[in-house]
Amino acid sequence: MRSEEEANRAIERYADTVRRICMVHLKNYSDTEDIFQTVFLKYVLYPEPFESEEHEKAWIIRVTVNACKDLLKSFFRSRTTSLEALKETAMVPDLEHSELLDAVLGLPEKYKNVVYLYYYEEYSAAEISQILKKNVNTVYTLLTRARHLLKQELEGVTDDE
């Protein structure tokens, strides 16, 4: 078990990353809190040491993505909320470049992670395939389709090339 100092350090270091992934997937704050708790509890209880900071970060991202996936699954099973209600409770702050954010949020679930990891976290397709435990070619396909969808949505905000 990791010490409280380690846990606090990890929270300070990775909270933004986790928050961004949550933002991409989730619409309300309490779900985000749930994800934070799940992710960092898992971090504290994870018994293996991390080889490096990159390893640690990739681990956090994977756990967050999986936690979001689990939550969304249970979300669909347990609760049904209309799209309007979702939009209302969406935790999107009043940000610049919100067209891009809106476009990303509007993507189907399966594209969100690859897009975020590829463009913002700047992971390579190979790295993404490892983090998400997907085939590299699948990642490429997802990226291409996502790019296409975004392009349609934004028309010029994101340069395809």
Binding site: M23, E33, F36, V44, E96, H97, L101
Partner: protein, 279 residues
């Protein structure tokens, strides 16, 4: 091409509140529970250690507290303290010979019957018994039932010896005897002697052997306490004075005289000695 992405996602930060809530959650869920569990464990460990200590102390107290004493008096005078498990836990010697005997035998922690066998088989004791001395074994204990039990067993184990006598006494007398620096058997003899000659002190008796004490008793009862007030028992002269006081007893030599450490009716016993001596 990544710049808009950086700008868009870069401005998203985890709220301070969110971080604090997560930290609090982890503290509640993991760390406080952990310390609580640890303190539970510590408390449990302390409690069990205390129980163990008390148990050990109790067992130790039971084991190391003598409840029954067996006083062995011939010339060497020693006393075995038995705990409630009937093991010997103390060997006290009350004279030089007794000390020698106690040193030569490893009696501690033996079963008392084994110890008695060892004592009876000891060369010095065997020699004394062969020389017609009488060995007195006195059992005294806090518990009457254990007392009787031990006495019976002792009687059983010495039944083969004709000149070993067993008696029982009570624990207060044992303590009195100890405070006078005597073994219990000797103290009983001293009390008999003191009744006949009130001027005899425990210090004087301490220096005498059992044999000599009994000779003095015989001598005093024979002289019917009229003139015999010489209370300075002299180790070397006591046997001689004994023969002087009873001129008819010509066979009373140092080891020839027989004596018996007896229970309350000692005058009968003394008469019995006289009878023996006359024979």
């Amino acid at each position: 091409m990544n710049k808009p992405w950086k700008n868009t996602f870069g401005q998203i930060h985890a709220e301070q509140e969110l971080k604090e809530h997560t930290k609090e959650y982890l503290y509640e869920k993991v760390y406080r529970a952990h310390t609580r569990r640890a303190s539970h464990f510590r408390r449990l460990a302390a409690a069990s250690a205390l129980c163990l200590f008390l148990f050990a102390a109790g067992a130790g107290y039971l084991f190391f507290t003598p409840v029954t004493y067996i006083s062995v008096d011939i010339n060497p005078s020693l006393e075995l303290g038995l705990n409630c498990f009937e093991r010997i836990i103390s060997v006290e010697s009350y004279n030089e010979d007794g000390k020698k005997l106690a040193d030569s035998l490893e009696l501690k922690y033996l079963d008392y019957q084994d110890a008695l066998t060892l004592i009876l088989e000891d060369d010095t004791i065997e020699a004394l018994l062969d020389g017609d001395n009488i060995l007195s074994l006195t059992v005294a204990g806090e518990s009457e039932s254990q007392n009787q039990e031990v006495l019976q067993d002792v009687e059983g184990s010495v039944s083969g010896y004709s000149n070993v006598h067993c008696h029982s006494g009570n624990i207060e007398e044992v303590h009195e005897a100890h405070s006078c620096g005597m073994s219990f058997g000797k103290y009983q003899a001293f009390q008999i002697l003191q009744e006949l000659d009130p001027s005899v002190t425990s210090g004087q008796v301490q220096e005498l052997s059992m044999h000599e004490i009994w000779q003095r008793i015989r001598q005093l009862s024979g002289a019917s306490t009229e003139s015999d007030t010489e209370a300075e028992p002299d180790n070397t002269t006591s046997t001689e004075s004994g023969t002087e006081a009873e001129p008819d007893n010509t066979t009373s030599t140092e080891n020839g005289g027989s004596y018996q450490n007896s229970s309350p009716g000692h005058s009968e016993a003394e008469q019995h000695h006289h009878g023996q001596e006359h024979e």
